[in-house]
Symmetry: C2
Subunit: 525 residues, 2 copies
């Protein structure tokens, strides 16, 4: 069996102790094993002291060129990587592309962005200003690379995009990266790491890979380090509250649970292109990656008078996907398994919780037979749809507002078609990554933007005019903000230049105008 290795302090390590076995979630066959890594303090120090100076010496455009090289490199190995995503991730080929090509796209986007940021060791933010009216002394904010390590703790669902997306932004900013993939799906991330290390011409210490448990990693963080975490709210809370993280004021970004919503506007009826788009997007957002996507739609707000239409068509479409759920190696399969037995177990528990607040109207959680695998094998769940009453939809204590079932599962929530009610329902989720409004009613959309935007990291507006160009709202592009307030973790990643703030320190440089002009290349101000 394949033995995966960590790459720490400039060399590969098998780790020690009992092997942890990774599986194909469709067949439950073992595909690789790994062992717990050690000497993590030394690994962080090496990254900080060797990788940091080397990356900072490059400047933004040269780091952009590095990212461009990595993007091409990953693309060169694309077929092999897609196969690994299918084998260890339970991905369909479409799911695998979403992950791998998504990662390549972030590398390419930040390569281009960094190429335009100039050769200074910092970015200028805002304008040079007098510190007070009439003063000869000026102030200019600069954003400079933090002189620590970017520690990336990624989720199991996007081993490629998660790793490469975070890596792209940190490297663009000049911070060395220690990347810790989720253990269950680490085969893909480990292979990408091998490729980057072998062929990426990365400066020594710029990249490290930690496989398996994080061990005592956080006991060794320092005041200039950054931790970017994607995963469960519980683990996010443990990281935020970790004694060493708190003691050293380590910067932490968390992207956690999110009960993303879709709001169907009262003007959108069956037969319209926008209605069809909404249904198509909903099916994608419920079933892509078997619903194990942080941006997947969990709550579907439908005007009461459209409920029958939406219910009917969604049940048909989801039933179709259900018949094509199984081993992704089979050509006709459109949806694969969940990633692990534990994920399936948690999803089943979540379904029982949802059943306390809503009625299941599609999908059978007990189904045991799926395409291309023996009965009872594989960690499968067919698409499940719940429906709540209008009264329950407005209850912030309802399970569908509190529990993210990380699986192909969503709940229909009828509402009265007003923005006020929609906002109340969306807000009951306590902060989400994304919500989409489907409407051509300009007043409705205008009010929805004001009411919903503060609750979200991203608000997608879909209208008839752009329906043909629209992309499913769960797709996170490098230029959009990825993160959300409250339950979603309160963080922000990507979003073009905005996302670079995570790895940069804002510092005001204060001095005489001509002094600043010479030092920073600003105007005299």
């Amino acid at each position: 069996m394949k033995r995966l290795q960590s790459y720490l302090a400039g060399s590969w390590h098998e780790g020690q102790g009992d092997p942890i076995v990774l599986h194909n979630p469709a067949t439950e066959s073992p595909v690789a094993e790994l062992r717990k890594a050690t000497a993590l303090g030394e690994a962080l120090r090496y990254a900080r002291e060797t990788g940091g100076p080397a990356l900072r010496a490059l400047g933004f455009p040269q780091r952009g060129a590095l990212l461009s090289r990595l993007a091409k490199l990953v693309h060169t190995h694309r077929e092999e990587l897609l196969d690994l995503a299918m084998e260890n991730g339970g991905n369909t080929r479409g799911d695998a592309k979403f992950d791998v090509d998504g990662g390549t796209a972030v590398l390419a986007a930040y390569a281009e962005l960094a190429s335009k940021l100039g050769d200074a060791p910092w970015l200028l933010e805002g304008d040079v200003e007098p510190i007070m009216r009439g003063s000869k002394i000026r102030a200019q904010h600069v954003l400079c690379p933090r002189v620590g390590v970017a520690i990336h703790v990624n989720a199991f669902n996007f081993p490629a995009w998660g790793m490469l997306g975070k890596l792209a932004v940190a490297l663009a900013c000049g911070m060395p990266v220690l990347s810790k993939p989720a253990t269950s799906t680490a085969v893909l991330a480990a292979r990408i790491a091998e490729i980057l290390v072998a062929e990426g011409e990365l400066p020594a210490g710029a990249f490290s890979l930690l496989l398996g448990p994080a061990g005592d990693l956080l006991d060794h963080v320092g005041p200039q380090d950054v931790v970017a975490f994607t995963g469960s709210a519980d683990t996010g809370a443990r990281i935020r509250g970790h004694a060493q993280v708190v003691a050293h004021g380590v910067r932490v970004n968390v992207e956690a649970d999110s009960l993303n919503a879709v709001v169907l506007g009262p003007d959108v009826g069956p037969g319209s292109e926008l209605f069809d788009l909404a249904i198509r997007d909903l099916v994608t957002e419920l079933t892509q990656k078997a619903g194990q996507k942080c941006t997947a739609t969990r709550r579907i707000l439908v005007p009461q008078e459209r409920l029958d239409d939406v219910r009917q068509v969604l049940r048909e479409r989801l039933a179709d996907v259900a018949t094509k759920t199984g081993d992704p190696q089979q050509k006709e399969v459109r949806m694969g398994p969940l990633s692990t037995a534990q994920q399936l177990h948690d999803a089943q528990a979540g379904l029982r919780a949802l059943a306390g607040s809503a009625t299941r109207i599609a999908g059978d959680p007990a189904r045991r037979s799926f395409v291309g695998v023996p009965e009872g094998k594989g960690w499968f769940l067919e698409p499940i749809l719940f429906e709540a009453t209008a009264a329950a939809a407005l209850d912030p204590a309802a399970a569908f507002h509190r529990i993210e079932v990380f699986a192909p599962v969503a709940t229909l929530l009828p509402y009265d078609g007003s923005v006020a009610a929609a906002a109340r329902i969306v807000a009951a989720g306590e902060g989400s990554l994304v919500t989409t409004v489907y409407s051509d009613d300009r007043v409705f959309v205008g009010e929805a933007v004001t009411a919903l935007a503060p609750l979200l990291g991203r608000l997608v507006i879909a209208d008839e005019k752009t329906a043909n160009a629209s992309l499913s709202p769960g797709c996170v592009f490098p230029v959009v903000n990825h993160g959300g307030p409250g339950r979603a973790g309160g963080g922000g990643e990507l979003g073009g230049r905005a996302g670079m703030q995570l790895y940069l320190q804002r510092t005001t440089i204060q001095g005489g105008g001509s002094q600043l002009a010479r030092l920073l290349g600003t105007g005299v101000g």
Copy 2:
């Protein structure tokens, strides 16, 4: 005795339980009392539900007009407020102006800034961009007011500036404020609150005042709330790790301990204007507010060959201040007491710790007789200067790199005149609010900016040319970033528009180009 009241949920409350007595720290006479407030969850809900919508309905320019009115109002009551600062804060009249006028200046600065931000309910950030090359779908970041409460927990040393500075930024952003001053010096903050409430024409719920212990306040925070805290690292850590804060992803800004440094460049010798400026600033930064200033200088890096000069002149100047330390009501007094008996006790403990790493070369911690007060009365400490060896200066474990003695106390640290050594010494403080470099050597300054900036929230460059216009580096102007990485808490406040990010949610609005142009007033992109 004056009974201070909390202003919660739109009315004044005496609180309940045993009175907490506030003192004049120069004479130890009681000056006021207050009692613990209750029903804090209700107070937060009132602010969130009544104050929030009212403030958001105003828009940026109207909120700017409100701040302008508040600035004038505070200025109208200036003399009364200065007297209170002297009485309850132990401030000299100069210290009191620094606090009160500083607060007025932040109100005025954000009034002006907000007046220029347009009438939209959000700020645009960056440009509208295609979500991917060739797509008709665009993305635009907006920053919109968070729909929660801004909870401000302030330190005892700046009851006016701390409260008004935080208030100005939050109100400019449209967030209602619940302000909790430090108990020991709450007389000034309570009086300002009275003035704001009585004459400020604030919308109902826009401002609340919580006096005394925070009680169960944090048990009631929600996902859209923001906590901005200034104070000790320990309390900062407790806030960050609070279960409800963590569970709801509440945004937290911490400004905590900071071992601010001054670096005298190797080119700066006695007799130069720059040398004189450095000495003048050092005396100010050691003794203003009795050294109880988060931006006060704690570590003074001096080239080995200048050590005798600096030591001699500083000892003379500090000895002069020592003879003028006493009750600020006395005309000749230049430095008042520490704020509380506990502060004096903690400072004495800190002095003992510093004595393990450096030698005391000026000041007597045991002195008991001060100007205008009976022997043994008042919480006084005369200016104290330590000096370390060059070897100790480079030791990150040395007490002066780890312990902030919040009093008129600093340590001379000889270094070899190189930027590398200076950066190593500054970095040993693990992140600070501000460091100042005094030099006319362009190479030295240039290297110093690159090496020091990431370790700081603000870097001040002082040169001969602007020496006459320079302002002491501990002065925080509204346009400069106030906060620092690591030990300094990892936060950022003020800094003009950058500081508003704390109270705004970044949200990407994604949709068709003409749709975004209509909704957001952007170009079509």
